[in-house]
Every structure is written in C-alpha cells, then in structure tokens.
C-alpha cells in the first residue's frame, strides 16, 4: 500500500515581518522536505552601495529595515571605522549603546506583544487578544513607545534615525535632555519585569534543539555593540575573520541567502544564542528575573525565546538607565574619520542576532564593494532544520493544527524577512 503524502502549505506567513511561505512534504511517517520560501523581492542594497561615499553607508543601509535601522547604522559605522583605522572614544560608544537599547526595547516589545503572544494565548492576532486583555496590550504599546522615545532622543528620529554618523553623532544630547525619558524608563523597567512574569506563564511545548549558538561576547557586558564572535562549540574569532569561518550561499527556493559555518553547517543567532552564551553578563535584575521565569543559564527551547526576549527588554531598560546615570556628553559628538583604502568589518547584535557588514573602500572614500549578512539570513538553515524536527515529532496532529503550530514555530525566530532579502505560506505535502 502506498504511503500517504501530506502537504501543508502556508502561502503567506502572518505576523512575521516581510513576505515568506512555508512548504513541508511528508511521506508516510517521514518528513521529506521543509522549505522556508522567501519571496519578498530581493533588494540589491549591496549592489547600489557601490560608488556611494563611505559616509552614506549608515543612512542607506538603515533603509533595509524599518524595525531595526539602528542595527544597520551601528554595524555600518563599525565597519567603516575599521576600514579607516579609527576608534571612537568611550563616551561616543556609550551613547551608541544607549541608542541600541532603545531599538532592542521597541523591536522585542513589538514582537512579544503583537506578533508572538497571541499564539500562546490562542488568538489569531493582537486585535482579538486586545479585546480580552486590553490592559496588557496597552502595557505593551506604552513599553514600545518608551523605546521609540529613547531612539528619537538619541537618534533624532524614531524610524531611520538621522543622528548617527561614521565617527559618532551629528549632535550629542545634553545631560538634562534625558530627564523625561529617564522617568519613563523607570516605568518601562517595571513594565518589562511584568512582561517577563506574564510570558513566563505561557504554555510551552517541550521541544529542544541541539544548536550551535553564535553571538558576540565582550568581557563585563551583555553583548550589543561590540565584541569577538563566539559559539558554544569552540568558535572564538575577531570580527575580521568572519569570512574565513562563515559562508553565504544562494538556495533556489529563497530570495534570501542562507549562511552556514564552513566547519559545521547550520547555527543559531539571536536572543537564545546571546542569552545562552552570555547570561552571566546580564544585570542582576535581569538575571534574577530570568531565573524566576524558569530559564536556566542556557535555553535550547525556541518556544521559550519569548521569555528570553522579555528578559532582554528588561536588561535594555536597566542598561539604558545605567548609561543615562553615567552619561558624559561626548565633545565633539564625532571623531574625524579620514577615508583610507582598505576593507573594514563590523559586527553588532541586532535584536534578531548578529549583523555583519563588510566594505571595501577606495582611498577617495568611495565604496567599491559591500557585503551585508543579516541575522535572519544566518538563521534560515537552522529554522528549516528545527521545523523538520518539529514536524517529525508532531505528525499525529491533523493538518490544520499542524499548520498553525508550524507558523507559531516560525514566529519563535522573529524573522525579519525584509532584512533577509536585502540583496508565510506553509505547504505541507503529505504523501
């Protein structure tokens, strides 16, 4: 008797950023194929950056993403400063880290409340959830707003900030300008703690994966804006060695490039990776909240990523308050960066994970080549591997339920498909 083929298709993934689809084919009791199809059109940033001035990279690459523009600006600045042999001083570095905290808050909070939480509580989206849980959704909206306010203050604008530049900023705020957002951050820190407690109580499937986690690491601080690239399987390299250890490749079913470790294949970047590699570097408040929420020092269950994101929001609030408390206005707001021919590498931790930029520039400061590897691209192979295992373990479910669970599983990774296609339909075919 021929084994039955089941096909599950999700033509357009909901509650993910960007446009993607999922296809799964099962024959009998074996998963044959899992594909995350990214049909968001490719955007060719790496091509049109060529010939532009090196100082334009932060502004141009910020347009890759409306949710994580600061990440692009920070990685671009790091790479250009590396190419030109310049290091910014600690005051500028601290202000960049503060701006980044605002973005982590805004991006993670959006994902937690509006994209992911509905899955755990059985809602189709945030709007039906809001009818039953209005105060909770309000809390999420207000928490996101505080992140946006911090980005507007330091970055000059909430979306595609205009203040960052190669070398630092166009203008640094005076200490007194932080008073209002500081007050709001205190409320936000409490709201973030409540968020951790709220999500910690969600029902989580018992699913763990044996990931190779990859993130930055910097002694004495939870990684956001700098560090070496490390993994839990022995990787420990400087940012300049990225290309020797990681490869980007084209796959036929996706407009987003896949990435893999040359030595070992698929790997995971993002909150789960950062947390598992650096949980000891969180602030005491965030560490305690993580423990109280049932997270050990390492977390291998992608469904619990919502808890890890909530812990990172709490950390971002805590860290922002610390940075404001210790703030010394950088004067001048930027260091000089005379262009020089060469190749520069920059790596920072976007909300979704490691974001790598590499530029070759000429002596005149014009960009000759650009390579941008976003976290969602790096995770694609791992997302497909996880889904394969997850579907394999869940074949007893009827198609409708299985489809919904697959979509939920994809949302674990908070994929940013716009980023992944810079250069969800779930199809499950059961046979």
């Amino acid at each position: 008797m021929r084994a039955r083929t089941r096909t599950i298709k999700v033509g357009a993934l909901a509650r993910v950023e960007g446009e993607g689809a999922l296809y799964v084919r099962v024959k009998g009791d074996q998963v044959q194929e899992v594909r995350l199809d990214i049909y968001e059109p490719p955007r060719f940033f790496e091509a049109f950056l060529r010939g532009r001035r090196f100082t334009e990279a932060p502004d141009l690459t910020a347009r890759i993403c409306g949710i994580c523009p600061v990440a692009y600006q920070m990685s671009a600045c790091a790479a250009m400063e590396d190419a030109c042999g310049v290091q910014v001083d600690d005051r500028i570095r601290a202000l960049r880290r503060l701006l980044y905290c605002g973005e982590w808050m805004a991006s993670h909070t959006l994902h937690i409340y509006m994209l992911h939480a509905p899955d755990f509580l059985g809602y189709d989206g945030v709007i039906p959830m809001a009818r039953d849980h209005a105060p909770v959704v309000e809390r999420g909206l207000q928490l996101k707003k505080v992140g946006n306010a911090l980005m507007a203050l330091v970055g000059g604008r909430e979306v595609h900030p205009v203040n960052p530049r190669v070398g630092g900023f166009y203008r640094a705020p005076a200490r007194r300008e932080f008073a209002e957002v500081e007050e709001r951050l205190r409320w936000a820190r409490d709201a973030a703690l409540e968020t951790v407690r709220w999500v910690a109580g969600f029902p989580f499937p018992d699913f763990t994966q044996d990931y190779e986690f990859v993130s930055l690491r910097q002694a004495g601080e939870y990684p956001i804006d700098r560090g070496r690239i490390v993994s839990d399987r022995g990787l420990d390299i400087g940012v300049r060695e990225y290309g020797e250890h990681f490869a980007e490749e084209q796959v036929p079913h996706s407009n987003a490039l896949h990435a893999r470790l040359r030595a070992r294949g698929a790997y995971l970047v993002g909150p789960l990776a950062r947390y598992s590699l650096n949980s000891d570097a969180l602030s005491p408040l965030a560490r305690d909240a993580a423990r109280e929420a049932g997270l050990g020092p390492v977390c291998r269950n992608p469904f619990r990523s919502i808890v890890v994101r909530a812990v990172e929001v709490l950390y971002a609030c805590d860290e922002a308050l610390r940075l404001i408390g210790e703030y010394e206005r950088p004067e001048p707001p930027a260091v000089e960066v005379p262009p020089r021919a060469g190749v520069g590498h920059g790596c920072t931790e976007a909300p979704r994970g490691l974001l790598y930029h590499r530029y070759a520039i000429g002596g005149d400061g014009d960009i000759a080549e650009a390579a941008i590897i976003p976290p969602t691209s790096q995770n694609q192979a791992q997302i497909e591997a996880d889904l394969r295992r997850f579907v394999q373990a869940s074949l007893a479910l009827p198609d409708r339920e299985l489809t919904w669970r697959c979509e939920q599983a994809i949302r674990n990774y908070d994929p940013c498909i716009s980023c992944a296609t810079h250069f969800l339909t779930l199809d499950i075919e059961r046979a």
């Binding site: 960007g18 446009e19 409306g66 945030v126 709007i127 809001a130 209005a134 959704v137 707003k145």
Partner: protein
C-alpha cells in the same frame, strides 16, 4: 486633522497635502498632525480628540482621484481603505486595535484618495490634486457647517 502619507512618493502625499490645507482653512480650532501611518503612533495622535479627520492615499486599483469616506465607529474600514503591508501595522489595524482597547476618538472620519503615481518624487498627479480639493471641501463641510464656504487655499 491627521494627514497620513509619504511626501516623497508623489500621490502618497495626498493625505498630507489635504490635511495641511484643511487645517489652514479651518484655523486654530483644529490641530494638524502629519503621520507616516505607523499604527501605534496613530493611536497616540488621535488620543483625546473629539472629532478626527484622517486623510490617506489609497492604492486599491480604482481610478486615480476616486475618493472614499468611512466612519470608524460604523465598523472596520472597507478593504479599499486598508493598508496592506507586512512591514507595519497601519491605519486599518490602528482603528481595530483602538476599537478593541476603547481608544477610538468620539468620531473618526477617514477619507481615502486613490493615487495613480506612487513613484519616487514630489508632486501630485492632476486627478489627485483635484481630489484633494474635493476632500478638503467635504471635510470642511463636516467640521464646521458655518464655514463650509470658506476659501480653500490653493497651496
């Protein structure tokens, strides 16, 4: 008055242009807000207002210059007025979330102006320019019957 749009995408500026002219004609009894259309910001923009007129461009496949009007309290915005984007939570979602959270203004009137040209650049196409004038007249009539005949500024 909330004008929603992008000033650098030709007809996508229709809502911004219309709202500015409306606010200029209506004087200091109204407050003008210009928004990109991001939903959470809209919820804040209309917070506490009695009457909100929101004007945005539409891209629903209709003839350029077509105008549609809807009242948020009456129900979800018609499909033609819904922003379709996987990248942002927009006007229609903001209305529904506002409804769910009890954060809709007393009255929220939404005007949509069908655009024809959304390419990069500044300036409205002629049909949309004419539609902006019509919307401003209609909206003025809604908000202040006694000044319905007020001069509509050309710029």
């Amino acid at each position: 008055m909330i004008g929603v749009g992008n000033a650098y995408r030709r007809d996508d500026a229709a809502g911004l242009v219309a709202a500015r002219r409306l606010a200029a004609a209506a004087g200091d009894r109204v407050e003008l807000r210009e928004e990109s259309g991001e939903g959470a910001a809209l919820l804040d923009a209309w917070a506490g207002a009695g009457l909100v007129i929101l004007i945005d461009a539409m891209d629903s496949g209709g003839r350029a210059g077509t105008v549609r009007r809807a009242e948020a309290k009456a129900g979800p915005l018609p499909a033609a007025l819904s922003r379709c984007s996987t990248h942002a939570f927009g006007v229609a979602e903001a209305v529904e979330l506002g409804r769910a959270l009890g954060r809709l203004p007393e009255r929220l009137v939404v005007f949509g102006i069908e655009g024809g040209d959304f390419t990069a650049g500044v300036g409205l196409s002629p049909a949309v320019e004419r539609a902006v004038t019509r919307v401003v007249r209609r909206a003025l009539a809604e908000i202040r019957p006694e000044i319905a005949g007020a001069e509509v500024p050309a710029r």
